[in-house]
């Protein structure tokens, strides 16, 4: 395993310390691996997200004005425990209440919900929404809901902008839910990733193979296939996303586009993919309100990318364009 690392055991802690040294506006509560704003505004709804580590800049990189107030960091690919989340809720409690934004994975859902319950017992006003934007698996007999992946970043952004406006917990929750319901994602991988504590890739792939429909934990996708060109990938992903979103370019609707890298794919390839994706959307007559290209929700050092599309109404579009300033996500109005 070739990583910039000292010991797997201290990896997450050292990384969190590194984040906080680079961003002095943050505070790191080491005992519970919480990264939070130093100054919590008691007059706005507090937003908390988090999950396993390994998705950097998610989630600590999204703490900042107009986005999250705290991120709770689990071990690599393991949800934080309920105690960690509970402490984060307590440490960032505001007069307006707290909203948890949870990606739909068993571990995250159970730990965050339990934490909300514990905090509620303490009299803290707290609610949650879940994000399940991954369309790799069609809802079916087998699964209880889809996974939450890169689209979550846009939900953070929208909810953050709404909270920043001083809205109530109910209002923030409502718009966050709307954002979550209108975003879809699909991803592919050219390699697996290497969990530091394991030291070898989670799975192997041939020189000409890719996994289509992967999540963000280095787990295999729904299908092993021959690698495809950027144009082929873009066509396939955009078509699937639009179909699932029921957007056909016939109305005036605009969309937000997020082309997300999984960690080891360089920006040059993401921009190239964006070129292909943008062309597909243009062909279908769909107007892009705003595009984000970069590493937002990664899977450690996986090679690959995902595309997320959010259908916008006026409210979502307006919130998306609000200024926001987190290390991993900046919008300048």
């Amino acid at each position: 395993m070739k990583k910039i690392i000292n010991r797997p055991e201290t990896f997450v802690k050292e990384m969190c310390n590194g984040i906080v040294s680079a961003h002095p506006e943050f505070e790191f509560i080491e005992k519970y691996k919480i990264i939070k704003k130093k100054n919590i505004d008691k007059n706005k709804v507090s937003l908390i997200s988090g999950g396993g580590s390994g998705h950097e800049p998610a989630h600590a990189g999204f703490v900042g004005r107009g986005m999250l107030d705290a991120a709770v960091c689990g071990d690599v690919f393991a949800s934080p425990s309920q105690i960690q989340v509970y402490q984060a809720i307590k440490e960032t409690a505001s007069d307006k209440g707290t909203l948890l934004i949870i990606k739909n994975y068993s571990g995250d859902m159970m730990n965050f919900k339990n934490a909300a319950y514990l905090a509620g017992e303490d009299g803290i006003l707290v609610d949650y929404i879940k994000v399940d934007d991954d369309i790799a698996v069609q809802d079916s007999l087998y699964t209880v809901g889809r996974r939450g992946v890169a689209g979550t970043v846009l939900v953070h952004k929208i909810a953050g902008a709404c909270a920043e406006q001083g809205k109530s917990l109910d209002e923030v929750k409502k718009v966050a839910l709307k954002a979550a319901q209108n975003v879809r994602s699909i991803g592919f991988a050219f390699s697996s990733c290497t969990v530091p504590a394991k030291g070898t890739p989670t799975f192997d792939m041939g020189e000409m193979e890719m996994e289509y429909g992967v999540g963000i934990h280095g787990e295999p996708g729904i299908k092993r296939e021959q690698i495809a060109t950027a144009d082929e990938l873009a066509l396939r992903m955009v078509s699937a996303l639009l179909e699932d979103l029921k957007v056909d370019g016939s109305s005036e609707e605009e969309v937000a586009l997020l082309v997300n890298g999984f960690g080891s794919t360089p920006l040059q390839e993401l921009y190239l993919l964006n070129n292909a994706v943008t062309r597909e959307l243009a062909k279908k007559n769909i107007k892009i309100n705003r595009t984000f290209v970069g590493n937002y929700m990664t899977s450690i050092d996986m090679m690959g990318a995902s595309v997320s599309i959010m259908k916008l109404d006026e409210e979502l579009a307006e919130l998306l364009s609000q200024k926001c300033d987190a290390p991993g996500f900046k919008v300048d109005g």
């Binding site: 393991a78 309920q82 571990g107 969990v195 787990e219 729904i222």
Partner: protein, 212 residues
């Protein structure tokens, strides 16, 4: 053996912890096939904490304390799906239990049945969903059915049933956890969490055998 006292129970759980810690690599391999490859890391981390906490406490007065200490450590230190689920495996069984100082077959069966209930409530998984429930529920059933007079033999039955459950998970598609999006591709591979359940029961059985 008909029953064991608090100290022996504690040693039995520590033996289970050791078995999981020793299986770290194996469990990680199993989870790599259809999950995210960290089950062994998470479980062994939690079990090390649990073992340390059990060893640190000289004042465990009841069987309940032993299970509670173990479960709380897992729940709070592990995180992940398995933190809650395996935490509940130890906590769920003693939630409504009167303090006890001896663990016999009757009590153990009762504890594990209650565990299964809590876990299913928490995680919503049923038999056939390719989770640890597929090992734990058969173990609970075996315990219920077994002759309650010999804890060692009964533990052997539970371990056998858990192992059968692990085998059965190979034929299933997953409805929970990381493997759920693999659909049919998960077939042929056993569930990681179920494997942990099997390892825990087998270790407890071996420990009791060694005490005879």
């Amino acid at each position: 053996m008909k029953s064991i006292n608090v100290e022996t129970c504690k040693q039995m759980i520590i033996a289970a912890c050791d078995a999981i810690i020793d299986s770290k690599e194996y469990l990680t391999e199993v989870d790599s096939k259809i999950g995210d490859g960290d089950h062994g890391i998470g479980m062994s981390g939690g079990m090390e904490k649990a073992k340390a906490a059990l060893l640190a406490k000289d004042d465990l007065a009841t069987i309940n304390d032993v299970f509670k200490t173990t479960g709380m450590q897992m729940l709070n230190s592990m995180g992940g799906a398995s933190g809650v689920i395996f935490g509940s495996m130890f906590l769920g069984g003693i939630k409504d239990l009167e303090p006890a100082t001896e663990l016999d077959g009757e009590l153990f069966s009762k504890i594990i049945s209650a565990s299964v209930k809590t876990i299913k409530l928490r995680g919503k998984a049923e038999i056939g969903d390719k989770t640890m429930v597929d090992a734990l529920e058969p173990a609970a059933a075996a315990l219920e059915k077994a002759d309650k007079d010999d804890l060692t033999l009964l533990m052997g039955d539970a371990a056998m049933a858990a192992a059968g459950g692990v085998e059965a998970t190979k034929d299933m598609v997953a409805k929970f956890g990381r493997a759920k999006s693999l659909m049919e591709r998960a077939i042929g591979f056993q569930d990681a969490g179920a494997t942990s359940v099997m390892i825990i029961f087998e270790a407890m059985h071996r420990y009791l055998q060694a005490q005879e």
